[in-house]
Amino acid sequence: MKYTAYAATMRSVWFSHDEGESWNRLLTPTGGMYNEARCWSITTHPKRPGELLAGTDQGLYRWTKDSNRFNYIPSPMDSLQILHIEQAPDDPNFIVCGTRPGEIFISEDNGLSWTRSNLDSSTECWFINTPRVTSVHFDPLDYNTIWLTIEIDGIFRSQDRGKTWQVLNDGLMDSDTHDLVFVDDDNGRTILCSTEAGLHKSFDNGQTWTHTPIPEAPWPYLRGIKERADDSGVIFASVADRPSGETGILLISHDHGENWKKLPIPEPVNTTIWSMGTNTADPNIIFAATLFGQIFRSQDGGESWKKMKREMGEIHMIAWSPS
């Protein structure tokens, strides 16, 4: 299968058409986006092959394979950092963007018009001053339910597609929340949440959370958490000495987050592994990127990893989709 990998960097979006071996970006004169735009977020949708949405600090953009350029999408977010973008699994026209400051903007018409959601998140926090959205998820069992993590303000859930929100922080040791994974099986639902203080689990759909230490993690700081795109129970978690720290490791669980082991990532890892890119088109292909620009690729479902030659300076998100 031919695929394209995408990296959201501090110098716009980079593309790889050869499985991550080489990377290029569009030319500024014709590419539609400033080559040094700070790009924070990218997303693809299986119903929209050949399309990529990119969130930057200069606004929201849509790249299409046919045009091979970024087209600016007017939105109220031009002066904000667009940190996460998700499209509803059943309707790619329904777009949710999470920003810094911690706000949610929703378009139901493929970006033609936008509504700022009444998300009453914190407007300030001591540690990073301005809270920000760290992940956006459509509930895999109910696409009308949207989940958020906010750094630093905890976990939010909307059961009416962003019209109203609940804060679900009961039991969290730390409201510096980063990411969520949903495990739905015969035993019911478990939600995993990565936080600055480690892994938390909820067995009651987010009403309460329990801190669940991972003995194999040398540090508590848990950043990304991602399920392999095949419902096999395989989950990855990135652990680091601190955000933007000196190094990081990747853990794997084969049993929905019960037990973990360290993966043999080629070292040295230069800082926190910030993002992982999976796709249901081939669950075996997984990309991981450190915040300071290293790229790793697995072609066997995450069991082994190769460090790609190219480094990018700073990568905030990595993804891939079939070409």
Partner: protein, 220 residues
């Protein structure tokens, strides 16, 4: 959904600075004992603005801003040109701010002073004690029912109407709040430029540079 992204630098009493970015989408002006909602898209933290050569009025203000860590206290000015209402006023707010909670016990000692002229040699235009204006706590109570908080996204300009002045020419204006108790001041200096002024005596047409790629006859 119009909003202004306010990026204050908030100095605490121990000189620590925090820098939250705060979305402002509800702006209130208190002036002449009246309260008026005004569009947030007239807000600015610029230190230079352009005005036509019409006479303008500048009214110094103290500014209250809703924030999660406690209401912010800053300074600014309302600029109106003759015949225009507050609804089309330019509202200028400093990016320097303090926490109201650090001032509330000695707010009566604060003074608002306006200066004109060059920054190196300013002339005092007027001053007024903050306690001669409407009290911040009263304003907050009127808006939110709480004497120490404002609703999310709210910014309030409280005008020092006695210090309002009219001018007919470009001006440099500084609005300063002096806190004698904590030995600090907070100043917003605004350079008012005439639309008739031009930094070019003979403004050139824009140029186009091809760059390092060689012969390109036309853009794209």
């Amino acid at each position: 959904m119009s909003f202004f992204l306010y990026k204050p630098h908030i100095t605490g009493p121990s000189n620590n600075i925090t820098t939250p970015d705060i979305i402002i989408d509800r702006v209130v002006i208190h002036t002449d004992n009246t309260t008026q909602l005004v569009p947030s898209n007239q807000l600015s933290s610029q230190v230079e603005i352009q005005l036509t050569n019409d006479p303008f009025e500048a009214t110094p203000c103290y500014v209250l801003v809703a924030a999660g860590g406690g209401v912010l206290f800053s300074t600014g000015a309302i600029i109106t040109t003759s015949g225009n209402s507050l609804g089309s006023a330019q509202m200028l707010v400093s990016r320097s701010a303090w926490r109201f909670i650090n001032l509330s016990k000695h707010i009566s000692t604060l003074e608002l002073t306006t200066y004109t002229g060059p920054a190196a040699n300013p002339e005092v235009c007027g001053n007024q004690a903050i306690n001669e204006l409407q009290e911040p706590s009263d304003i907050m109570e009127q808006i939110s029912g709480n004497r120490e908080a404002l609703p999310r996204g709210t910014m309030v300009f409280c005008c020092a109407d006695q210090l309002r002045y009219t001018n007919t020419s470009p001006e440099s204006l500084a609005v300063c709040i002096e806190d004698g108790t904590l030995q600090r001041n907070l100043t917003h200096r605004i350079q008012i430029l005439s639309t008739e002024e031009d930094r070019w005596s003979n403004r050139p047409l824009p140029r186009y540079s091809v760059g390092p790629v060689g012969d390109v006859e036309h853009y794209i």
